[in-house]
Amino acid sequence: MSAYLVSMATYAGFFMILALALNLQWGLTGMVNFGIAGFYALGAYTSGLLSAKAGWPLGLSIPMAIAAGFAAGGLVALLSMRLREDFLAIVTLGVGEVIRLIVLNEDQITEGPRGLRIEAQPFQSLVEPENYPLFYLCFVAVFVAITYWICERIRKAPMGRTLRAIREDDVVAGVLGKNVFRHRVQIFAIGGGFMGLAGALYAHYTQNISPEVFMPTVAMFIWMSVIVGGAGNNRGLLIGAGTVIMFLEGTRFIGDILPWLDAEIMSSVRIITIGLLLIVTLRLRPRGLLPEPKFSYTKR
């Protein structure tokens, strides 16, 4: 039971990093990204392959995962220059799916549907195996805290104001002399880097990654976290990610209480509940549980 809670909290950590990254891109700057699953997969496979197949130490492979996400984010941002936001949504979804298909099909490198086995875990030798899950939760929590701190800094800094201006009206921001193009590419790349980090943390946690984990539904759950929590508000979306994981994983408890319900039914009920959660939240609180605070000149 407590082991279960620890694993749930760890997953919530991955989701929180992804949600914070999406909030940088969409909540703050107004750039749509539905390819989250692809960036997540890119991070997981970069670090996983480098450590499992090339024998790199984790101190190098995890930063490489961040770099891969960063580079991919920068490239995708170039698309966002020309596309309307709803079309960008379809294209980024496509980017994510293409990454998944490549992982699935190039199985001589990625092991495809068989799944890639990764032995290496951070600080493996220093921690007792029975305490390791709890240690890893703390390890992830540190990264969530760092990500949160960086995102908050960006939001409060003068750059955050520029980003919000770009979100509200990029033409006006451009007329005011802000380099809209550079800001967009930067933020998309930073967001991509965080998503790569989340992927690497996930890969070394489960130690077995396969393409079916990185379905577009992952992107869906992160979007729900941000929308339910309140786009633009970093604290709100931590709550959002927690809520989504609670509905997603917590409903597994019902399976323990009512064992006669089979897994197929349980997973359907889980998806239905989480979809309804989004729709009900938007009907009752259109701007999320904790909406973005209105900007004020008099207090910070």
Binding site: R82, E85, L101, W223, L282
Partner: protein, 287 residues
């Protein structure tokens, strides 16, 4: 061999073109890419299955039933979900529509499980001509698509309701000033599109298989066809579907068939970047 590619492309196009036209129509009225069409198609396929196999109705009757059921579901989704959220941004509505697809799919899975099913129709040997094969069902699909395309054309161009639908899609406020009841026309459009998605569900069940993911797997090809032809241009959608079908069949010659879904995405990306208005759409005037 070569002829077979064209036959397959034609069947694909007949499957994709009607929902792509419906998607275009819906986009015109609701102004966001509605991913819920995947769920609607799944509902159509399973409604037809229920009428056809457990209830034992002949397939044509089951098809009409499925179209009615799907039309009703799409109208319900409009009234309960999308209409009250009109003030939300297009992206939020897009997320909601994906959530709706997941819900509909899961409801179907709840009642029918994820097993693969088929309609109660006799298996027949495919017809052969000049080395290409085509089944009776595929011929029916193509015939239905042609009839449906013509019907939609007549409806949109030559009837009062069709004119009103185009007017509301073009400029709802102007349409309202001219005395068009926009709310009623929007509701009618959703029901019409719902019926078409229901029919697509039946086609998909005939040509592919009936399973909860059947609609999701068709969503991207449908988007690709609609964008290729120029979103908001129902006729472009037909040509878009033909080109997409051809592109997909040609890719199979060089790449593993699992990459097929990527073709749709790549076509979407290229077209949106190079010619966002599609083949036949008119360029949008940005403020």
């Amino acid at each position: 061999m070569n002829l077979q590619i064209f036959v397959n492309a034609l069947v694909n196009a007949a499957l994709i073109a009607p929902p792509a036209m419906a998607f275009s129509l819906l986009f015109g009225v609701l102004k966001f890419p509605n991913f819920a069409i995947g769920g609607y198609i799944t509902i159509g396929a399973f409604a037809a299955y229920t009428f056809n196999v457990p209830l034992g109705l002949p397939l044509p009757l089951a098809t009409i039933g499925a179209m009615a059921v799907t039309g009703f579901v799409v109208w319900l989704a409009h009234v309960w979900v999308f209409k009250p959220m009109q003030a939300q941004s297009a992206v939020t509505l897009l997320v909601v529509s994906i959530a709706l697809t997941l819900i509909l799919e899961s409801v179907v899975r709840l009642f029918f499980s994820a097993d693969v099913r088929g309609f109660d129709i006799p298996l027949e040997r495919p017809w052969k001509f000049w080395g290409a094969r085509i089944t009776k069902e595929q011929v029916q699909i193509i015939a239905c698509a042609v009839v449906l395309g013509t019907g939609l054309h007549v409806l949109l161009r030559h009837t009062r309701i069709g004119r009103a639908m185009r007017a509301v899609a073009d400029n709802p406020m102007l349409a309202a000033i001219r005395g068009v009841d926009a709310a009623k026309i929007t509701a009618l459009t959703t029901i019409l599109c719902g019926a078409i998605f229901g029919l697509t569900g039946v086609f998909a069940g005939l040509d592919l298989v009936i399973e909860p993911l059947v609609g999701w797997n068709l969503t991207i090809p449908i988007f690709a066809a609609a964008i290729l032809g120029g979103i908001g241009s129902p006729y472009g959608a037909i040509l878009g579907a033909l080109l997409l079908g051809l592109a997909e069949e040609l890719t199979i010659l060089v790449l593993p068939s699992t990459y097929k879904i990527a073709v749709g995405f790549v076509i979407i990306a290229i077209f949106l970047l190079v010619r966002p208005q599609g083949l036949f759409g008119t360029a949008e005037i940005k403020k």
